[in-house]
Protein backbone atom coordinates (compact mmCIF):
# COMPACT_ATOMS: atom_id res chain seq x y z
CA UNK A 1 0.00 0.00 0.00
CA UNK A 2 1.38 3.42 -0.89
CA UNK A 3 1.81 6.19 1.60
CA UNK A 4 -0.81 8.31 -0.12
CA UNK A 5 -3.41 5.55 0.18
CA UNK A 6 -2.51 5.06 3.82
CA UNK A 7 -3.00 8.75 4.45
CA UNK A 8 -6.35 8.59 2.68
CA UNK A 9 -7.32 5.66 4.88
CA UNK A 10 -6.27 7.48 7.91
CA UNK A 11 -8.61 10.30 6.88
CA UNK A 12 -11.47 7.86 6.85
CA UNK A 13 -11.72 7.10 3.13
CA UNK A 14 -11.71 3.62 1.64
CA UNK A 15 -8.35 2.48 0.25
CA UNK A 16 -7.85 3.56 -3.35
CA UNK A 17 -10.80 5.97 -3.24
CA UNK A 18 -10.34 8.87 -5.64
CA UNK A 19 -9.87 12.35 -4.24
CA UNK A 20 -13.09 14.24 -3.49
CA UNK A 21 -14.48 16.14 -6.46
CA UNK A 22 -13.95 19.89 -6.43
CA UNK A 23 -17.45 20.86 -7.50
CA UNK A 24 -16.60 24.57 -7.58
CA UNK A 25 -13.92 23.83 -10.17
CA UNK A 26 -16.40 21.70 -12.15
CA UNK A 27 -18.82 24.62 -12.12
CA UNK A 28 -16.11 26.95 -13.41
CA UNK A 29 -15.58 24.63 -16.40
CA UNK A 30 -18.97 25.66 -17.86
CA UNK A 31 -18.81 29.10 -19.50
CA UNK A 32 -22.57 29.68 -19.47
CA UNK A 33 -23.03 28.71 -15.83
CA UNK A 34 -23.17 31.80 -13.67
CA UNK A 35 -22.82 34.06 -16.72
CA UNK A 36 -24.88 37.24 -16.40
CA UNK A 37 -27.84 37.37 -18.76
CA UNK A 38 -29.38 40.84 -18.86
CA UNK A 39 -27.45 41.71 -15.71
CA UNK A 40 -28.14 38.61 -13.63
CA UNK A 41 -26.21 35.33 -13.48
CA UNK A 42 -28.32 32.41 -14.65
CA UNK A 43 -29.37 29.62 -12.31
CA UNK A 44 -29.72 26.83 -14.84
CA UNK A 45 -32.18 24.18 -13.65
CA UNK A 46 -33.23 22.65 -16.97
CA UNK A 47 -30.57 20.04 -17.64
CA UNK A 48 -33.20 17.36 -18.27
CA UNK A 49 -33.96 19.36 -21.44
CA UNK A 50 -30.33 19.92 -22.37
CA UNK A 51 -27.13 20.20 -20.37
CA UNK A 52 -24.65 23.04 -20.53
CA UNK A 53 -21.29 22.28 -22.15
CA UNK A 54 -17.89 22.33 -20.50
CA UNK A 55 -15.08 24.33 -22.10
CA UNK A 56 -13.30 21.10 -23.14
CA UNK A 57 -16.23 20.09 -25.35
CA UNK A 58 -16.49 23.54 -26.92
CA UNK A 59 -12.72 23.50 -27.53
CA UNK A 60 -12.92 20.04 -29.10
CA UNK A 61 -15.54 21.29 -31.58
CA UNK A 62 -13.45 24.35 -32.39
CA UNK A 63 -10.33 22.24 -32.92
CA UNK A 64 -12.20 19.88 -35.25
CA UNK A 65 -13.48 22.74 -37.41
CA UNK A 66 -10.24 24.72 -37.35
CA UNK A 67 -7.70 21.94 -37.64
CA UNK A 68 -9.07 18.77 -39.29
CA UNK A 69 -12.56 19.36 -40.70
CA UNK A 70 -12.96 16.65 -43.38
CA UNK A 71 -15.39 13.87 -44.20
CA UNK A 72 -14.89 10.47 -42.60
CA UNK A 73 -14.19 7.02 -44.04
CA UNK A 74 -13.22 8.18 -47.55
CA UNK A 75 -10.52 10.83 -47.90
CA UNK A 76 -6.97 9.60 -48.45
CA UNK A 77 -5.37 12.78 -47.18
CA UNK A 78 -4.04 13.62 -43.73
CA UNK A 79 -6.87 15.58 -42.20
CA UNK A 80 -9.46 13.07 -43.49
CA UNK A 81 -7.54 10.28 -41.80
CA UNK A 82 -7.42 12.35 -38.60
CA UNK A 83 -11.18 13.05 -38.75
CA UNK A 84 -11.92 9.33 -39.26
CA UNK A 85 -9.58 8.41 -36.44
CA UNK A 86 -11.19 10.85 -33.99
CA UNK A 87 -14.73 9.85 -35.05
CA UNK A 88 -13.99 6.17 -34.45
CA UNK A 89 -12.12 6.99 -31.23
CA UNK A 90 -15.34 8.64 -30.00
CA UNK A 91 -17.18 5.40 -30.76
CA UNK A 92 -14.72 3.53 -28.56
CA UNK A 93 -15.25 6.09 -25.77
CA UNK A 94 -19.01 5.46 -25.95
CA UNK A 95 -18.45 1.71 -25.94
CA UNK A 96 -16.36 1.91 -22.79
CA UNK A 97 -18.78 4.34 -21.13
CA UNK A 98 -21.76 1.97 -21.44
CA UNK A 99 -19.66 -1.22 -21.42
CA UNK A 100 -20.84 -2.52 -24.80
CA UNK A 101 -19.13 -5.71 -25.97
CA UNK A 102 -17.96 -4.15 -29.24
CA UNK A 103 -17.73 -0.82 -31.06
CA UNK A 104 -19.85 -2.49 -33.76
CA UNK A 105 -22.76 -2.17 -31.35
CA UNK A 106 -22.49 1.63 -31.15
CA UNK A 107 -24.47 3.55 -33.79
CA UNK A 108 -24.19 7.34 -33.84
CA UNK A 109 -27.54 9.13 -34.16
CA UNK A 110 -28.68 12.68 -33.64
CA UNK A 111 -30.40 11.80 -30.37
CA UNK A 112 -32.66 9.47 -28.43
CA UNK A 113 -35.64 10.16 -30.68
CA UNK A 114 -33.77 9.04 -33.77
CA UNK A 115 -32.46 5.95 -31.98
CA UNK A 116 -35.94 4.86 -30.90
CA UNK A 117 -37.40 5.55 -34.34
CA UNK A 118 -34.58 3.56 -35.89
CA UNK A 119 -35.51 0.52 -33.80
CA UNK A 120 -39.25 1.00 -34.40
CA UNK A 121 -38.75 1.09 -38.17
CA UNK A 122 -35.75 -1.10 -38.88
CA UNK A 123 -36.44 -3.81 -36.30
CA UNK A 124 -40.13 -3.26 -35.65
CA UNK A 125 -41.43 -3.25 -39.22
CA UNK A 126 -39.49 -6.40 -39.99
CA UNK A 127 -40.25 -8.49 -36.92
CA UNK A 128 -43.42 -7.21 -35.24
CA UNK A 129 -46.54 -8.88 -36.64
CA UNK A 130 -50.29 -8.59 -36.16
CA UNK A 131 -51.37 -10.15 -32.85
CA UNK A 132 -47.95 -9.47 -31.33
CA UNK A 133 -47.85 -7.18 -28.32
CA UNK A 134 -45.60 -4.20 -27.66
CA UNK A 135 -45.20 -3.15 -24.02
CA UNK A 136 -44.33 0.35 -22.78
CA UNK A 137 -44.78 2.06 -19.43
CA UNK A 138 -47.15 4.88 -18.53
CA UNK A 139 -44.14 7.10 -17.86
CA UNK A 140 -42.95 7.39 -21.43
CA UNK A 141 -41.84 10.53 -23.20
CA UNK A 142 -43.55 11.04 -26.57
CA UNK A 143 -40.39 9.82 -28.33
CA UNK A 144 -40.76 6.40 -26.71
CA UNK A 145 -44.50 6.31 -27.28
CA UNK A 146 -45.50 7.70 -30.67
CA UNK A 147 -43.05 5.56 -32.76
CA UNK A 148 -44.58 2.45 -31.16
CA UNK A 149 -48.15 3.67 -31.67
CA UNK A 150 -47.36 4.11 -35.36
CA UNK A 151 -45.67 0.70 -35.51
CA UNK A 152 -48.73 -0.94 -33.93
CA UNK A 153 -51.09 0.87 -36.30
CA UNK A 154 -49.02 -0.31 -39.27
CA UNK A 155 -48.63 -3.93 -38.16
CA UNK A 156 -51.83 -4.57 -36.21
CA UNK A 157 -49.86 -5.31 -33.05
CA UNK A 158 -51.34 -4.38 -29.67
CA UNK A 159 -49.88 -1.72 -27.39
CA UNK A 160 -49.87 -2.33 -23.61
CA UNK A 161 -48.62 -0.26 -20.69
CA UNK A 162 -46.99 -1.07 -17.38
CA UNK A 163 -48.98 1.15 -14.97
CA UNK A 164 -47.66 3.53 -12.35
CA UNK A 165 -48.50 3.85 -8.67
CA UNK A 166 -49.95 7.08 -7.35
CA UNK A 167 -46.47 8.28 -6.29
CA UNK A 168 -45.22 7.90 -9.85
CA UNK A 169 -43.22 4.72 -9.31
CA UNK A 170 -43.69 1.88 -11.74
CA UNK A 171 -46.11 -0.84 -10.63
CA UNK A 172 -44.31 -4.03 -11.58
CA UNK A 173 -46.47 -6.28 -9.41
CA UNK A 174 -48.31 -7.64 -12.45
CA UNK A 175 -45.30 -7.62 -14.80
CA UNK A 176 -45.76 -11.31 -15.62
CA UNK A 177 -49.34 -10.69 -16.77
CA UNK A 178 -48.35 -7.73 -18.92
CA UNK A 179 -45.19 -9.12 -20.50
CA UNK A 180 -46.18 -12.52 -21.84
CA UNK A 181 -45.37 -14.96 -24.64
CA UNK A 182 -47.33 -12.68 -26.97
CA UNK A 183 -44.98 -9.77 -26.23
CA UNK A 184 -42.60 -9.14 -29.10
CA UNK A 185 -40.94 -5.99 -27.80
CA UNK A 186 -40.68 -4.05 -24.54
CA UNK A 187 -39.53 -0.43 -24.52
CA UNK A 188 -39.27 1.50 -21.26
CA UNK A 189 -37.53 4.55 -19.90
CA UNK A 190 -34.81 4.04 -17.30
CA UNK A 191 -35.73 7.36 -15.70
CA UNK A 192 -38.83 9.48 -16.20
CA UNK A 193 -38.13 12.94 -17.57
CA UNK A 194 -41.20 14.24 -15.73
CA UNK A 195 -41.18 12.52 -12.35
CA UNK A 196 -37.56 11.48 -12.06
CA UNK A 197 -38.77 7.94 -11.35
CA UNK A 198 -35.98 5.41 -11.71
CA UNK A 199 -37.47 2.22 -13.13
CA UNK A 200 -36.36 -1.36 -12.39
CA UNK A 201 -34.98 -1.90 -15.90
CA UNK A 202 -33.06 -5.05 -15.03
CA UNK A 203 -36.20 -6.72 -13.75
CA UNK A 204 -38.16 -5.64 -16.82
CA UNK A 205 -35.43 -6.74 -19.23
CA UNK A 206 -35.11 -10.07 -17.42
CA UNK A 207 -38.86 -10.67 -17.83
CA UNK A 208 -38.67 -9.70 -21.51
CA UNK A 209 -35.86 -12.19 -22.08
CA UNK A 210 -37.81 -14.89 -20.26
CA UNK A 211 -40.62 -14.62 -22.82
CA UNK A 212 -38.34 -14.10 -25.81
CA UNK A 213 -39.18 -10.41 -26.30
CA UNK A 214 -36.73 -7.79 -27.45
CA UNK A 215 -35.97 -5.03 -24.91
CA UNK A 216 -35.37 -1.37 -25.61
CA UNK A 217 -34.28 1.16 -22.97
CA UNK A 218 -34.84 4.90 -23.31
CA UNK A 219 -31.70 6.12 -21.57
CA UNK A 220 -32.09 9.83 -22.32
CA UNK A 221 -32.44 10.64 -18.60
CA UNK A 222 -30.31 7.86 -17.14
CA UNK A 223 -27.09 7.64 -19.14
CA UNK A 224 -26.13 11.28 -18.36
CA UNK A 225 -26.64 10.79 -14.63
CA UNK A 226 -25.49 7.36 -13.45
CA UNK A 227 -23.14 4.51 -14.36
CA UNK A 228 -24.70 2.37 -17.10
CA UNK A 229 -23.60 -1.11 -18.13
CA UNK A 230 -25.56 -2.53 -21.06
CA UNK A 231 -24.18 -6.02 -20.54
CA UNK A 232 -25.28 -6.03 -16.92
CA UNK A 233 -28.72 -4.71 -17.86
CA UNK A 234 -28.94 -7.28 -20.64
CA UNK A 235 -31.03 -5.10 -22.94
CA UNK A 236 -31.10 -5.42 -26.73
CA UNK A 237 -31.14 -1.68 -27.38
CA UNK A 238 -30.33 1.48 -25.44
CA UNK A 239 -30.95 4.91 -26.94
CA UNK A 240 -29.61 8.14 -25.47
CA UNK A 241 -28.75 11.75 -26.34
CA UNK A 242 -25.35 13.40 -26.22
CA UNK A 243 -26.62 16.93 -25.64
CA UNK A 244 -28.02 16.01 -22.21
CA UNK A 245 -24.58 14.80 -21.07
CA UNK A 246 -22.24 17.68 -21.92
CA UNK A 247 -22.09 16.80 -25.64
CA UNK A 248 -23.16 18.94 -28.60
CA UNK A 249 -26.76 19.18 -29.78
CA UNK A 250 -27.72 16.58 -32.41
CA UNK A 251 -25.33 14.02 -30.95
CA UNK A 252 -26.65 10.69 -29.77
CA UNK A 253 -26.18 6.97 -29.63
CA UNK A 254 -28.14 3.83 -30.29
CA UNK A 255 -26.58 0.82 -28.67
CA UNK A 256 -27.78 -2.40 -30.27
CA UNK A 257 -26.83 -5.94 -29.39
CA UNK A 258 -24.86 -7.33 -32.32
CA UNK A 259 -27.36 -10.07 -33.33
CA UNK A 260 -30.19 -7.52 -33.35
CA UNK A 261 -28.32 -5.02 -35.52
CA UNK A 262 -27.26 -7.82 -37.90
CA UNK A 263 -30.83 -9.04 -38.44
CA UNK A 264 -32.21 -5.55 -39.12
CA UNK A 265 -32.46 -3.87 -42.49
CA UNK A 266 -31.02 -0.36 -42.82
CA UNK A 267 -33.10 2.63 -41.71
CA UNK A 268 -31.78 5.18 -44.20
CA UNK A 269 -30.25 4.35 -47.57
CA UNK A 270 -27.47 6.26 -49.35
CA UNK A 271 -23.76 6.83 -49.09
CA UNK A 272 -21.59 5.35 -46.34
CA UNK A 273 -24.03 2.56 -45.51
CA UNK A 274 -23.40 0.53 -48.71
CA UNK A 275 -20.76 -2.07 -49.55
CA UNK A 276 -21.34 -2.23 -53.29
CA UNK A 277 -23.83 -0.55 -55.60
CA UNK A 278 -24.67 -1.72 -59.11
CA UNK A 279 -27.33 -0.34 -61.44
CA UNK A 280 -29.50 -3.32 -60.53
CA UNK A 281 -28.99 -3.41 -56.80
CA UNK A 282 -26.80 -2.88 -53.75
CA UNK A 283 -25.37 -4.61 -50.70
CA UNK A 284 -24.97 -3.13 -47.22
CA UNK A 285 -21.95 -2.14 -45.24
CA UNK A 286 -21.15 -3.89 -41.94
CA UNK A 287 -22.66 -2.74 -38.65
CA UNK A 288 -22.62 -0.09 -37.30
CA UNK A 289 -21.99 1.77 -40.60
CA UNK A 290 -25.06 0.10 -42.13
CA UNK A 291 -27.08 2.51 -39.94
CA UNK A 292 -25.05 5.66 -40.56
CA UNK A 293 -26.10 6.66 -44.08
CA UNK A 294 -24.79 9.96 -45.38
CA UNK A 295 -22.22 12.18 -43.74
CA UNK A 296 -22.73 11.63 -40.02
CA UNK A 297 -22.52 14.25 -37.27
CA UNK A 298 -18.73 14.13 -37.17
CA UNK A 299 -18.19 17.14 -34.92
CA UNK A 300 -21.11 15.96 -32.79
CA UNK A 301 -19.69 12.48 -32.27
CA UNK A 302 -16.20 13.78 -31.49
CA UNK A 303 -17.70 16.42 -29.18
CA UNK A 304 -19.74 13.73 -27.41
CA UNK A 305 -16.49 11.81 -26.95
CA UNK A 306 -15.06 14.87 -25.19
CA UNK A 307 -18.20 15.09 -23.04
CA UNK A 308 -17.77 11.45 -22.05
CA UNK A 309 -14.11 12.10 -21.17
CA UNK A 310 -15.26 14.99 -18.99
CA UNK A 311 -17.90 12.96 -17.14
CA UNK A 312 -15.62 9.95 -16.79
CA UNK A 313 -12.94 12.10 -15.19
CA UNK A 314 -15.47 13.06 -12.51
CA UNK A 315 -16.81 9.49 -12.28
CA UNK A 316 -20.44 8.65 -12.92
CA UNK A 317 -20.97 7.38 -9.38
CA UNK A 318 -19.84 10.79 -8.13
CA UNK A 319 -22.19 12.52 -10.58
CA UNK A 320 -25.07 10.44 -9.25
CA UNK A 321 -24.08 11.15 -5.65
CA UNK A 322 -23.90 14.91 -6.27
CA UNK A 323 -27.34 14.97 -7.89
CA UNK A 324 -28.66 12.91 -4.99
CA UNK A 325 -27.44 15.60 -2.58
CA UNK A 326 -29.15 18.33 -4.60
CA UNK A 327 -32.36 16.31 -4.94
CA UNK A 328 -32.48 15.64 -1.20
CA UNK A 329 -32.19 19.34 -0.49
CA UNK A 330 -34.92 20.14 -3.01
CA UNK A 331 -37.21 17.47 -1.55
CA UNK A 332 -36.63 18.85 1.95
CA UNK A 333 -37.55 22.37 0.79
CA UNK A 334 -40.57 21.02 -1.09
CA UNK A 335 -41.87 19.18 1.98
CA UNK A 336 -41.87 22.43 3.98
CA UNK A 337 -43.31 24.64 1.28
CA UNK A 338 -46.99 25.43 1.82
CA UNK A 339 -49.07 25.23 -1.32
CA UNK A 340 -46.55 23.15 -3.24
CA UNK A 341 -47.70 19.92 -4.86
CA UNK A 342 -44.78 17.63 -5.63
CA UNK A 343 -45.13 14.83 -8.20
CA UNK A 344 -43.14 11.62 -8.23
CA UNK A 345 -41.42 9.44 -5.64
CA UNK A 346 -40.10 11.03 -2.41
CA UNK A 347 -37.37 8.43 -2.01
CA UNK A 348 -34.06 9.67 -3.49
CA UNK A 349 -32.91 6.10 -4.11
CA UNK A 350 -35.58 5.72 -6.83
CA UNK A 351 -35.62 9.32 -7.98
CA UNK A 352 -33.17 11.14 -10.20
CA UNK A 353 -32.32 14.83 -10.11
CA UNK A 354 -35.68 16.09 -11.30
CA UNK A 355 -38.27 17.95 -9.22
CA UNK A 356 -41.69 18.45 -10.78
CA UNK A 357 -44.34 20.48 -9.03
CA UNK A 358 -47.18 22.93 -9.06
CA UNK A 359 -47.24 25.84 -6.68
CA UNK A 360 -49.79 28.18 -5.12
CA UNK A 361 -52.24 27.96 -8.02
CA UNK A 362 -49.74 29.82 -10.18
CA UNK A 363 -49.74 28.42 -13.69
CA UNK A 364 -46.32 26.81 -14.43
CA UNK A 365 -45.92 29.02 -17.47
CA UNK A 366 -46.31 32.14 -15.32
CA UNK A 367 -43.93 30.65 -12.74
CA UNK A 368 -41.26 30.03 -15.38
CA UNK A 369 -41.45 33.66 -16.56
CA UNK A 370 -41.43 35.06 -13.03
CA UNK A 371 -38.53 32.91 -11.77
CA UNK A 372 -36.53 33.91 -14.83
CA UNK A 373 -37.22 37.62 -14.41
CA UNK A 374 -36.69 37.60 -10.63
CA UNK A 375 -33.55 35.50 -10.36
CA UNK A 376 -32.72 34.12 -13.83
CA UNK A 377 -33.82 30.72 -12.54
CA UNK A 378 -34.38 28.60 -15.66
CA UNK A 379 -37.09 25.95 -15.19
CA UNK A 380 -39.27 24.15 -17.68
CA UNK A 381 -43.06 24.54 -17.76
CA UNK A 382 -45.61 22.46 -19.61
CA UNK A 383 -46.28 18.79 -20.21
CA UNK A 384 -42.60 17.94 -20.81
CA UNK A 385 -43.39 15.92 -23.94
CA UNK A 386 -45.35 13.42 -21.88
CA UNK A 387 -48.98 14.47 -22.36
CA UNK A 388 -50.56 11.14 -21.34
CA UNK A 389 -48.58 11.13 -18.08
CA UNK A 390 -49.40 14.79 -17.35
CA UNK A 391 -53.09 14.02 -17.91
CA UNK A 392 -52.79 11.03 -15.58
CA UNK A 393 -51.45 13.38 -12.91
CA UNK A 394 -54.68 15.29 -13.41
CA UNK A 395 -53.08 18.58 -14.39
CA UNK A 396 -52.65 20.56 -17.60
CA UNK A 397 -49.06 21.45 -16.90
CA UNK A 398 -46.30 21.28 -14.30
CA UNK A 399 -43.07 23.11 -13.55
CA UNK A 400 -39.84 21.15 -13.56
CA UNK A 401 -36.40 21.85 -12.13
CA UNK A 402 -33.61 19.43 -13.01
CA UNK A 403 -30.03 19.26 -11.79
CA UNK A 404 -26.57 18.41 -13.06
CA UNK A 405 -22.90 18.48 -12.14
CA UNK A 406 -22.61 22.26 -12.15
CA UNK A 407 -25.55 22.98 -9.83
CA UNK A 408 -25.08 23.82 -6.16
CA UNK A 409 -27.16 23.54 -3.01
CA UNK A 410 -27.23 27.35 -2.95
CA UNK A 411 -29.02 27.31 -6.29
CA UNK A 412 -31.68 24.99 -4.85
CA UNK A 413 -32.18 27.53 -2.05
CA UNK A 414 -32.47 30.32 -4.64
CA UNK A 415 -35.16 28.34 -6.49
CA UNK A 416 -37.34 28.00 -3.40
CA UNK A 417 -36.74 31.57 -2.27
CA UNK A 418 -37.72 32.75 -5.73
CA UNK A 419 -40.89 30.63 -5.55
CA UNK A 420 -41.86 32.32 -2.29
CA UNK A 421 -41.43 35.75 -3.85
CA UNK A 422 -43.33 34.66 -6.97
CA UNK A 423 -46.30 33.87 -4.74
CA UNK A 424 -46.17 37.33 -3.14
CA UNK A 425 -45.85 38.90 -6.56
CA UNK A 426 -48.90 37.12 -7.94
CA UNK A 427 -50.96 37.93 -4.83
CA UNK A 428 -50.65 41.68 -5.41
CA UNK A 429 -53.99 43.41 -5.10
CA UNK A 430 -55.80 40.24 -4.01
CA UNK A 431 -58.36 40.67 -1.27
Amino acid sequence: MTTAATVANWQGQPAGAPAPVDWARIRADFPLIGRPIKGKPIVYLDSAATSQKPRSVIETLRTYYEEYNANVHRGAYNIAAKATHEYEAAREKVRRFINAASVKEVVFTKGTTEGLNLVAYAWGRKFVKADDEVVLSELEHHSNLVPWQILCQATGAKLKYIPIHEDGSLDVSRLDEIITRRTRLVSVTAQSNVLGTVTPVRQIVARAREVGAVSVIDGAQSVPHQPVDVQAIGCDFLAFSGHKMCGPTASGVLYGRRERLEEMDPFLYGGEMIREVRYDGATWNDIPHKFEAGTPGIAQAIGLGAGIDYLSAIGMDRVQEHEGTLTKRALAHAAEMKGLTLYGPRDVSVRGGVITFNFADIHPHDLATILDEQDRVCVRAGHHCAMPLTMKLGVAATARASFYVYNTEDEIDILFDSLRRAKEFMSRGAR
Binding site: I362, H363, P364, H365, D366, T369, I370, E373, Q374, A381, G382, H383, M387, T390, A396, A397, F425, M426, R428, G429, A430
Partner: protein, 151 residues
Protein backbone atom coordinates in the same frame (compact mmCIF):
# COMPACT_ATOMS: atom_id res chain seq x y z
CA UNK B 1 -38.43 43.72 -12.20
CA UNK B 2 -40.11 46.54 -14.09
CA UNK B 3 -40.65 44.39 -17.18
CA UNK B 4 -42.26 41.80 -14.95
CA UNK B 5 -44.63 44.30 -13.33
CA UNK B 6 -45.44 45.63 -16.82
CA UNK B 7 -46.40 42.11 -17.84
CA UNK B 8 -48.36 41.19 -14.74
CA UNK B 9 -50.18 44.45 -14.05
CA UNK B 10 -52.70 44.31 -11.25
CA UNK B 11 -55.54 44.66 -13.74
CA UNK B 12 -54.30 41.46 -15.39
CA UNK B 13 -54.10 39.65 -12.08
CA UNK B 14 -57.65 40.78 -11.29
CA UNK B 15 -58.98 39.45 -14.58
CA UNK B 16 -57.06 36.23 -14.00
CA UNK B 17 -58.54 35.75 -10.53
CA UNK B 18 -62.07 36.77 -11.51
CA UNK B 19 -62.45 36.55 -15.27
CA UNK B 20 -65.39 38.28 -16.95
CA UNK B 21 -67.81 36.34 -19.15
CA UNK B 22 -66.46 33.05 -17.89
CA UNK B 23 -69.40 30.84 -18.82
CA UNK B 24 -70.90 28.59 -21.44
CA UNK B 25 -73.45 30.05 -23.86
CA UNK B 26 -75.79 27.21 -24.81
CA UNK B 27 -76.31 26.88 -28.52
CA UNK B 28 -73.71 29.49 -29.43
CA UNK B 29 -71.07 29.13 -32.07
CA UNK B 30 -67.91 27.86 -30.45
CA UNK B 31 -64.33 26.91 -31.10
CA UNK B 32 -61.57 25.33 -29.05
CA UNK B 33 -58.09 26.77 -28.90
CA UNK B 34 -55.03 24.91 -27.69
CA UNK B 35 -51.46 25.98 -27.05
CA UNK B 36 -49.48 22.74 -27.10
CA UNK B 37 -46.40 24.47 -25.68
CA UNK B 38 -47.90 25.04 -22.26
CA UNK B 39 -51.11 23.03 -22.39
CA UNK B 40 -53.40 26.08 -22.34
CA UNK B 41 -56.91 25.31 -23.52
CA UNK B 42 -59.73 27.72 -24.17
CA UNK B 43 -63.23 27.44 -25.58
CA UNK B 44 -64.77 30.62 -26.93
CA UNK B 45 -68.55 30.94 -27.37
CA UNK B 46 -69.98 33.63 -29.60
CA UNK B 47 -73.48 34.68 -30.66
CA UNK B 48 -73.60 36.57 -33.94
CA UNK B 49 -76.64 38.54 -34.94
CA UNK B 50 -76.40 39.89 -38.42
CA UNK B 51 -72.90 41.21 -38.49
CA UNK B 52 -72.62 41.96 -34.81
CA UNK B 53 -71.09 40.05 -31.89
CA UNK B 54 -74.20 39.95 -29.73
CA UNK B 55 -72.65 37.91 -26.93
CA UNK B 56 -69.29 36.30 -26.23
CA UNK B 57 -67.84 34.20 -23.43
CA UNK B 58 -65.07 31.72 -22.72
CA UNK B 59 -63.97 28.86 -20.51
CA UNK B 60 -60.70 27.06 -20.15
CA UNK B 61 -57.43 26.33 -18.42
CA UNK B 62 -54.48 28.55 -18.78
CA UNK B 63 -51.86 30.86 -17.42
CA UNK B 64 -52.65 34.29 -16.01
CA UNK B 65 -51.85 36.01 -19.29
CA UNK B 66 -54.08 33.79 -21.41
CA UNK B 67 -57.00 33.96 -18.95
CA UNK B 68 -56.77 37.70 -18.51
CA UNK B 69 -56.41 38.18 -22.26
CA UNK B 70 -59.54 36.10 -22.89
CA UNK B 71 -61.49 37.97 -20.23
CA UNK B 72 -60.43 41.38 -21.56
CA UNK B 73 -61.20 40.27 -25.10
CA UNK B 74 -64.79 39.36 -24.28
CA UNK B 75 -65.29 42.80 -22.78
CA UNK B 76 -63.72 44.52 -25.77
CA UNK B 77 -65.63 42.88 -28.62
CA UNK B 78 -69.16 42.53 -27.27
CA UNK B 79 -71.54 44.60 -29.37
CA UNK B 80 -69.04 45.25 -32.15
CA UNK B 81 -69.38 44.47 -35.85
CA UNK B 82 -67.26 41.63 -37.18
CA UNK B 83 -64.96 43.88 -39.22
CA UNK B 84 -64.36 46.08 -36.18
CA UNK B 85 -63.44 42.98 -34.14
CA UNK B 86 -61.00 42.01 -36.85
CA UNK B 87 -59.45 45.50 -36.91
CA UNK B 88 -59.01 45.49 -33.13
CA UNK B 89 -57.45 42.05 -33.23
CA UNK B 90 -54.94 43.16 -35.88
CA UNK B 91 -53.92 46.19 -33.86
CA UNK B 92 -53.77 44.17 -30.63
CA UNK B 93 -51.54 41.62 -32.33
CA UNK B 94 -49.16 44.41 -33.37
CA UNK B 95 -49.05 45.82 -29.86
CA UNK B 96 -48.23 42.49 -28.18
CA UNK B 97 -45.57 41.62 -30.74
CA UNK B 98 -44.01 45.07 -30.45
CA UNK B 99 -44.69 46.10 -34.05
CA UNK B 100 -45.32 49.78 -34.72
CA UNK B 101 -49.00 50.69 -35.00
CA UNK B 102 -50.55 53.30 -37.26
CA UNK B 103 -52.65 56.13 -35.88
CA UNK B 104 -55.80 54.65 -37.40
CA UNK B 105 -58.35 55.82 -34.87
CA UNK B 106 -58.76 52.32 -33.40
CA UNK B 107 -58.72 52.52 -29.63
CA UNK B 108 -57.66 49.35 -27.84
CA UNK B 109 -58.97 50.68 -24.55
CA UNK B 110 -58.41 48.25 -21.65
CA UNK B 111 -56.57 45.84 -23.96
CA UNK B 112 -53.57 48.17 -23.70
CA UNK B 113 -52.71 46.62 -20.31
CA UNK B 114 -51.39 43.61 -22.22
CA UNK B 115 -48.80 45.67 -24.09
CA UNK B 116 -46.12 44.45 -21.64
CA UNK B 117 -46.30 41.09 -23.40
CA UNK B 118 -44.11 42.49 -26.20
CA UNK B 119 -41.10 42.20 -23.85
CA UNK B 120 -41.74 38.44 -23.61
CA UNK B 121 -41.89 36.94 -27.11
CA UNK B 122 -42.65 33.42 -25.83
CA UNK B 123 -45.81 34.72 -24.14
CA UNK B 124 -47.36 36.29 -27.25
CA UNK B 125 -49.24 33.07 -27.94
CA UNK B 126 -50.76 33.23 -24.47
CA UNK B 127 -52.15 36.70 -25.20
CA UNK B 128 -53.51 35.85 -28.65
CA UNK B 129 -54.84 32.32 -28.13
CA UNK B 130 -58.35 33.49 -27.20
CA UNK B 131 -58.40 35.88 -30.17
CA UNK B 132 -57.50 33.18 -32.68
CA UNK B 133 -60.14 31.00 -31.10
CA UNK B 134 -62.73 33.78 -31.28
CA UNK B 135 -62.06 34.16 -35.00
CA UNK B 136 -62.50 30.41 -35.51
CA UNK B 137 -65.73 30.51 -33.50
CA UNK B 138 -67.11 33.40 -35.55
CA UNK B 139 -66.26 31.65 -38.79
CA UNK B 140 -67.62 28.29 -37.71
CA UNK B 141 -71.24 27.72 -38.58
CA UNK B 142 -71.48 25.30 -35.66
CA UNK B 143 -73.90 25.50 -32.80
CA UNK B 144 -77.40 26.90 -33.07
CA UNK B 145 -77.25 29.38 -35.88
CA UNK B 146 -78.50 32.79 -34.91
CA UNK B 147 -81.81 34.01 -36.27
CA UNK B 148 -80.04 36.68 -38.27
CA UNK B 149 -77.77 34.19 -39.98
CA UNK B 150 -77.93 33.94 -43.75
CA UNK B 151 -79.68 37.24 -44.25
Amino acid sequence: MSELTDLYQEVILDHHRAPKNYRVIDGARQAKGHNPLCGDQVTVYVVIEGDVVKDVSFQGNGCAISRAAASLMTGAVKGLARDKVEAIFRKFQKVVTGEPTADDGIDLGKLEVLSGVCQFPVRVKCATLAWHTLRAAIESGEGVVSSEDGK
